[in-house]
Amino acid sequence: MSTQPDLLYSEEEEALRAAVRDLLADHCDAPGVIARTESDAPHDLAAWKALADGMGLAGLLVPEERGGQGATHREAAVVLEELGRAVAPVPYLTSAVVATEALLGCETDGGLLAELASGRKIGALAVALNVGPGGAYRVVRHEDGALHGELTAVADAAVADVLLVPADDGGLYAVDADAVTLTPQVSLDLTRPLATVTLDGAPGRLLGDAEPAVRRALRAGAGLLASEQLGLADWTLTETVRHLKDRKQFNRPVGGFQALKHRLAQLWLEVVNLRAAARNAADALATGEDADVAVAVGQAYAAPVAVHAAEEALQLHGGIGMTWEHPVHLYLKRAKADSIAYGTAGAHREALAELVDLRAP
């Protein structure tokens, strides 16, 4: 590699982080998020409006001349770190990253890009959340100018205004949510719920070839998901350390016991590593240099660390961690679902075997 990636945060990025954290402190407190998960509206559309409309963050990846902010994946990654810290139930990764990247990868966006960038519309790529970059995905039938079929496990589809649907003719189609049937699926991750999309002769507007658009979208999704996982792991570590300094058993703070200190120190080390891996993936997506390897390394490392952090947080909180009332379960569910989203760690390692020429027997 000729140049080194920039793995730090700029002053502007730190300012962006502070602004998003402030906003989420107002909108997405833990009891509110927990209560919302069992309501009819698990997504927090007020928080989304504040992020997209108020701060213009849905358009970070869109060039200014196409109605966006003209920023890069580095800034979007910082937003995702904060959304991960709050397990915020907003369609940022799915609409402002994945659907947006899919549109950027199409010959035409039919004016949708500007609508997504402004937050006027929410978009969702109608590919199951578990599919990674280069993975096989389901398509619908394109017949007589209309689309037919059923697609499952589409994240945040319930709040989408427009779906980007791959069809059997190789095209990617924009379909209005009003023209399809959206059925919520009971999801492991309460804060990023899935839905089934049923198309029964729905009209679609052809955007371009599905294959490159979907691949590009899933690569960005997998790479920036690492930053969400970083935020999530960072929150669980910080919160667990705080709890263990506070919680007393045997007439001592529990955090003074060496068996637990070593586990937390180990976790800290993993989070430090994850920060470098996630920054590297975001920087590589921004520059386009070495992006395939950086994304695969980032996601192969991030997925198990986020799960480990959430599992340790639950165990080290003891009984309170097992209650519905304490938010740690939201993080565990998000972390576990994230470890499947956009390709498992194993799938990304398999991709690496090709990318860095360490081939299977």
Binding site: M1, Q4, P5, D6, L7, L8, V241, L244, K245, R252, P253, G255, G256, Q258, K261, H262, L264, A265, Q266, W268, L269, V272, N273, L274, R275, A276, A277, R279, N280, V297, A300, Y301, R349, E350, L352, A353, V356, D357, L358, R359, A360, P361
Partner: protein, 393 residues
């Protein structure tokens, strides 16, 4: 004000007065020291010019381009990295003038007499005794894990001068003459077959009080300077992708498909990812230092590399199958330098076992991270207010 241009000017002057092609190596090194270009951040008269440390690279680059000899820093690492900063901070003017010049030129090699058989992680419990007799201190005891002792002219030594106070308070720091007849150096053979280190037996060694460094009883504080510099010296280098131990095993994997199994493939890919991420973490740390925002991340680097070196070399032995059952050479040797990549996988596997012990065990480093970075409570201590002589051992 000494800036890069001024350093270039002075370096050119040095090179003109002492052309490397026609100057004796040692004469050149002495002249470089006297010109203040040895370590530019040291004070004038002591090999430096009081310039910013970051400007050293300017001098080094000019000298390297001119084909000037260096002081073989790997051979005298303990002197340069540990003894020198401690002497600079705590030494008398006389001590600094006497010791720093031959230390830097490599004329006098230094070693470190700190660890003892009974004082490893708990270094402050050390039992080597120094008793005052007139103008001298008479020292008796045993030290261990001393690299370069068999080559050394001098040692930095910590010894117990007062057994009646708590352990941290009764230690004094000395500069010890390794040619004293009371010093016996024995090679300490290790699991690799060779002997990088020594045991040092100290019997009635007389050290004049003028070779005491710092105040009597203040040796623990003085030793912190030495130990902090040891941790600075470990880690911090820039690696390319596959630059560490993952390199040789990846090459073997590519070149010898017949050795591949599915199980090894999964494990190799995991370790490859871990090694790449550790490399990125090191790079991020470096970028933080350059930007003047040092973080606590450095504390974790040694932990990460110890584990990686051990797991990767272990995998490599397994991958080699029948060859993994062999070892290149068990002959007892005394290497001058530690070379992790110059030998076979079996050697790397055995030598890297020391990576989680030397320079602070991984267990102690985890405590340090937990307490100093995460702010968790320290262990309940039973040794803080007890006189050293009353500690259990």
């Amino acid at each position: 004000m000494i800036d890069a241009a001024e350093l270039r000017r002075r370096t050119a002057e040095l090179l003109a007065a002492h052309p490397p092609a026609t100057t004796d190596r040692l004469d050149f090194l002495r002249a470089r020291f006297d010109a203040g270009l040895a370590w530019v951040h040291y004070p004038e008269g002591l090999g430096g010019l009081g310039a910013p440390r970051s400007l050293q690279v300017v001098v080094d680059a000019e000298l390297e381009a001119a084909g000037a000899p260096d002081n073989d820093p790997r051979r005298i690492g303990i002197g340069l990295g540990m003894a020198a900063p401690t002497i600079l901070k705590y030494g008398t003017e006389e001590q600094k003038r006497r010791y720093l010049r031959p230390l830097w030129t490599g004329e006098e090699v230094w070693c470190q007499l700190f660890s003892e058989p009974g004082a490893g992680s708990d270094l402050a419990a050390l039992g080597t005794r120094a008793v005052r007799e007139g103008d001298d201190w008479v020292v008796n005891g045993q030290k261990v894990w001393t690299s370069s002792a068999h080559l050394a002219r001098w040692a930095i030594l910590i010894a117990r001068t007062d057994p009646d106070v708590p352990k941290h308070a009764g230690i004094t720091y000395f500069l010890c003459d390794m040619t004293d007849p009371g010093i016996e150096v024995r090679p300490l053979r290790q699991i690799t077959g060779e002997a990088e280190f020594n045991e040092v037996f100290i019997s009635d060694v007389r050290i004049p009080d003028s070779r005491r460094l710092g105040e009597v009883g203040d040796g623990w504080r003085v030793a912190q300077t030495t130990l902090n510099n040891e941790r600075v010296a470990i880690g911090g280098m820039r690696l390319p992708r596959e630059g560490g131990m993952i390199g040789p095993v990846s090459t073997t994997w590519r070149e010898r498909p017949g050795l591949r199994t599915h199980d090894l493939h999964q494990r190799l890919l995991k370790l490859w990812v871990d090694a790449e991420v550790a490399r990125l973490t090191g790079e991020r740390l470096r970028q933080q230092l350059v930007a003047g925002q040092p973080g606590p991340e450095g504390a974790g680097m040694k932990l990460a590399f110890a584990r990686l070196n051990q797991e990767i070399s272990g995998l490599e032995v397994e991958l080699r199958g029948e060859e993994g059952l062999l070892y290149d050479d068990w002959t007892m040797r005394r290497p001058e330098l530690v070379d992790f990549t110059g030998r076979d996988a079996g050697y790397r596997y055995l030598r890297s076992k020391g990576n989680s012990i030397e320079g602070g065990t991984s267990e102690v480093l985890l405590n340090i991270v937990a307490e100093r970075v995460l702010g968790l409570p320290s262990e309940p201590r039973t040794d803080k207010d007890v006189a050293w002589k009353d500690l259990s051992r």
